[in-house]
């Protein structure tokens, strides 16, 4: 895939020659995954894009919450065929009492191996003391 490049904060990147930097291949996939995973539904004006990870905030740090986040990410990446069901690997791992980290990997013949393209941390509810 070929696209215009954006920074992690979704800014356009000038190429120094009066144009915009462009991206190919895995870099394109990376910014697409980044956009979809970090977008919440209704953030995007026209399409129901987004993994809605903010919905997890306040939930208990349990395996069920992790599974819910994984399913949301998979749905966000595959709902329109941008990524195939078998090309996406998502795992949610608790990294503290109130945080869970989701790692997204892409599997394709082009990359030969699974490529971890994104990790994001969601802060869950604070543990009761």
């Amino acid at each position: 895939m070929h696209d215009i490049a954006v920074s992690p904060s979704y800014d356009l990147i000038p190429n120094g020659a009066g144009g915009l930097t462009e991206v190919d291949g895995l870099a394109t996939d990376l910014q697409d995954v980044n956009y979809r995973v970090l977008t919440n539904n209704q953030d995007h004006l026209l399409w129901p894009l987004g993994a809605n990870l903010e919905d997890l905030i306040g939930q208990p740090n349990t395996a069920a919450t992790g599974a819910l986040g994984e399913a949301s990410i998979v749905k966000a990446l595959t709902y329109d065929g941008r990524f195939g069901q078998n090309a996406v690997q998502v795992s949610g791992v608790p990294i503290s009492a109130n945080e869970i980290e989701f790692a997204v990997g892409l599997v394709s013949a082009m990359y030969r191996t699974s490529a971890a393209v994104l990790t994001t941390v969601v802060e869950l509810e604070s543990p009761t003391t």
Partner: protein, 275 residues
């Protein structure tokens, strides 16, 4: 109400997005086929504004024609015809009235008056009966969808007719109480003269008077009386009890004062029954 075809290429947001993607793919931006990609987000942002602009253009164009105008655009359009929206009136009804006004202004036909009454809510049928009040007059009988039309509907009917009349193609007929000429008696012939001759003279005089009424001229009762009385010395007095302009006589048709005939083809006196 048939809707005119407006010859503007109105592009929706979907149209614009589809077109944009179709242009981007050949340029190598293959990611544009998916939503949420960088290049797709950029063109969709532009297309949102562009589709709004197209929508404004389309709104303006739709409101230039009576058949497609709506809302305040329609209000402004029909105002040219001297018509304003009634409280709670629908666009369809307003268009109907405006179209009717145009018909009146253009052709001044009876259909326009009937249409104005048909357009009212609660009216199932309208029957127009001409000459019920004399030459040039016409009566409308309203048949309601549920019995006799309400007082409100009758008032709206009067207002609708008045509005059309005010457009200039018709004049309001001021119908005072019917005036029976010389209610005292019958045609009185001077002694020694023939009743048949007197009747013929009166008939001729009355017919001539009506035949010479031009379109828009007032019917003057006193002049009409004078014309008959002046037809000959044989006529001393008379009583006009019936008059018809369609060739048939009817006792319910009375001469009324101060009205104006509208169409020259209606000034066709038929049988005048004078006693």
């Amino acid at each position: 109400m048939p809707c005119a075809t407006v010859p503007l290429i109105n592009k929706t947001l979907t149209d614009l997005n589809t077109s944009s993607v179709a242009r981007l793919l050949p340029l190598g931006y293959t990611d544009a086929q998916y939503t949420g990609t960088a290049v797709r987000n950029i063109v969709e942002s532009v297309n949102i504004s562009l589709s709004s602009f197209y929508g404004d253009l389309n709104y303006g164009l739709l409101n230039y024609a009576l058949s497609t105008a709506t809302g305040t655009g329609l209000d402004a359009l029909v105002f040219l015809l001297g018509i304003t929206r009634r409280a709670g009136e629908s666009d369809a009804n307003l268009v109907y009235r405006a179209t009717n006004a145009l018909t009146v202004a253009g052709t001044a036909n009876l259909t326009a008056l009937l249409d104005a009454l048909f357009a009212l809510d609660g009216i199932a049928d309208v029957i127009a009966v001409p000459f019920t009040q004399g030459i040039g007059s016409i009566s409308f009988y309203l048949i309601g969808t549920a019995g006799i039309p309400s007082v409100t509907t009758q008032a709206l009917a009067t207002a609708a007719l008045t509005e059309i009349l005010a457009a200039g193609a018709y004049a309001i007929v001021d119908l005072p109480n019917p005036v029976l000429l010389n209610a005292a008696g019958t045609l009185t012939i001077a002694p020694g003269n023939s009743l048949a001759v007197g009747e013929a003279l009166a008939q001729t005089a009355a017919t001539r008077y009506l035949a010479n009424l031009s379109m828009g001229a007032p019917f003057i009762v006193t002049a009409f009386e004078a014309a008959i009385l002046g037809a000959g010395t044989q006529i001393v007095d008379f009583n006009l009890v019936s008059m018809s302009v369609t060739g048939a006589t009817g006792t319910q048709e009375l001469i009324v004062a101060n009205y104006q005939p509208f169409f020259s083809d209606q000034i066709q006196p038929g049988v005048l029954l004078i006693q």
